[in-house]
Symmetry: C3
Subunit: 204 residues, 3 copies
C-alpha cells in the first residue's frame, strides 16, 4: 500500500516537473531529465550526504523508466493534468509524508542522531523541488512558498518520537499521515506561509 | 590514441568554458574554476552517484593543471579560438563519444544494470555543461539545444550491446565513434533538435 | 582557541547568509536552509568529493542548531549587524584562513597529493558562498569579486609547505594567519580584484 503510494507520488512529481519544463520550452530530453532530478533528487542528495550506497535508483533502475514515462505522458496530456487538481493535491500531500518517512527510515537504519533522522526526512521531501527550480533558473519556491519543509520536519519528528516512545510501525505511519497530510493540503488551499524575512539594505 | 583524444577533448571543453566565463566577465580564477567544473563535472557526478572513489581528478591531480592551463591559454587566444571552428567541432563530437565510453566503462566495471551503464555514460557526457550553465545563471543549453544527450544515449547503447553480443573492445569503440561522431557533427551543423514541449499555463 | 574562532566564523557566515536571504524575501525556513548551505556547503562538498564520511555536521548535528540560531538572530538584529562592519570583516578573514586549514587537514589525513590538499582547503573556503549565490539565482560572487579563492590557495600552500619543511603545527597556523588574514582584510578594504576576462563575442 505505502509502496503503491510511493510510486504514484514519484509519477506525480515527474508530471508536475514536466509541466515546469514545458513552461521553459525544454525539449523532450530536458523534460525527462528534469523529471528524474525532481523525483529522485531528494533521496539521492540524502544518500550522498549520509554515504548510503547504492542509491535507490541505481539499485532499482526501472524507476527511471516509470519517471520518464510519466513525464512523457504529461507532455501528451498537459491539458488534462491541469484539470486534475484534486488528485495531484492529494498525491502532493501523501508524497510529502511518505518521502519524509522513507528518508527517516534510511537514517534510522544507519543509527543516526535524532536531528539527522529528521533532517534526512526533510531532505528527501524538499531537495528535488529545489534542484528543479535551480535548473529552471528560479529562486527555489520552497524558500518562500506555502508551508512544505516545516510540515516535513513536523512529520519526521512525529515519526521519530512516535517510534521512540514505543508505538508500533503501522501506528506511527498512520499518525504521521493523519497530521502531515491535512496540514499540507490546508497549507496549499489556504496559502499558509511562514513569516518572510524582508531585508532591504538600501533602505538603511 | 583514445587517451590522447580524451585529454584533447578535456582541453577543448576547458577552452569553451573559458569563453563562456569571459562573456560573464569573470576573473581569471573564475575562468579556471568554471573550466574545471565543465571538464570534470560529468565524471565527478557519475562517480559520486555510483560511489566510485577516488574520483578521477583526485587520483590524477595533474589534469587540473592541464585544464587551468588550457583555460588561461583561451584567455590569451580568444580571437584565434573563435576562428578555429572546425577543430573544436571535431573535438566536441569526439569528446562526446569518448566521455560516454569512459562513463559506461566505469559502470561496467562495477557490474551495474544496463540502464545504469547507459545513464553513467550520458552523465559523463552532459553534466559538465549543465553545471557550467547553472553557474553562469542560464537555463542549461542541453535542455533545449542541438541533439547532445540523445546521441550520448545512442552511443552508450551501441557500446553496451556491442560488447554484450561479443564484438571485441576496439571494434565496439570504432562502431560507437562511427555512429556518434557524425551524428553530433551533423546535429550542430544542421541544428537538429529534439521536439520541444512548450506549455503556457496562462493560455488555458 | 582555533575551535572557538571556527564556530564564530560559522555563525558569522550564517548571519551574512541570512541577510542575503532577506534581500530575496525568503521565509524563516529559507533563511535557515541558506545559512546551513553557506556555512557547511564547502566542507560538505570537499568530503563528498574525497569520499570522507561521515560528514562533519552529520557527526556533530548540534552545529545545525548553532547555525540556524545565528541565522534567526540575524533576522531579529539585521540593523545592528549592518553596523558591526569590523567584527564581521575580522571574522571573514579569520574564517577564510581557518576553513582553509581545516580543509587541508582533512586531505592531509587521507594522504592526498599536495595539489589535492590545496584544492581541498580552497573548496572548504569558497564552495559555501558559491552555493548561496546559485540558490539566490546570482552568478557566484567569488568568480568576480574581491580576492578570496586566491588567498585561500596561497594560505593552503603556505600551510602545506610549511608543514613539509618541518615547521611545527602551531607555527604554521600562525604563519598562515599572518599572511592570509591581512591579505583578505586588505582585499576587501582596497577592493583588490583579479584581472577580469571580458570577452564579447558579438564585437568580433
Amino acid at each position: 500500500m505505502l509502496t503503491a503510494i510511493f510510486y504514484l507520488a514519484l509519477a506525480a512529481e515527474a508530471m508536475t516537473a514536466a509541466l515546469a519544463a514545458g513552461r521553459r520550452k525544454m525539449d523532450w530530453f530536458g523534460v525527462c531529465l528534469l523529471a528524474c532530478v525532481t523525483a529522485l533528487g531528494g533521496g539521492t542528495t540524502r544518500d550522498v550526504l549520509l554515504g548510503h550506497y547504492p542509491l535507490y535508483w541505481v539499485a532499482n533502475p526501472y524507476v527511471l523508466l516509470l519517471i520518464c514515462g510519466s513525464a512523457l505522458a504529461a507532455i501528451a496530456a498537459a491539458r488534462v493534468i491541469e484539470k486534475l487538481r484534486w488528485p495531484f493535491l492529494v498525491l502532493d500531500g501523501l508524497g510529502l509524508v511518505i518521502f519524509t518517512i522513507v528518508g527517516c527510515d534510511v537514517a534510522l537504519g544507519m543509527n543516526q542522531h535524532p536531528l539527522i533522522v529528521i533532517v534526512a526526512g526533510m531532505l528527501t521531501g524538499i531537495v528535488g523541488g529545489i534542484l528543479r527550480d535551480v535548473l529552471c533558473n528560479d529562486v527555489p519556491l520552497v524558500f518562500r512558498g506555502e508551508l512544505y519543509a516545516t510540515i516535513s520536519i513536523v512529520t519526521g519528528a512525529i515519526y521519530y518520537f512516535g517510534l521512540k516512545i514505543g508505538f508500533n510501525h503501522e501506528g506511527v505511519i498512520v499518525l504521521a499521515l493523519a497530521v502531515g497530510f491535512p496540514l499540507r493540503v490546508f497549507a496549499i488551499l489556504k496559502h499558509w506561509e511562514m513569516p518572510k524575512f524582508v531585508y532591504d539594505r538600501d533602505l538603511h
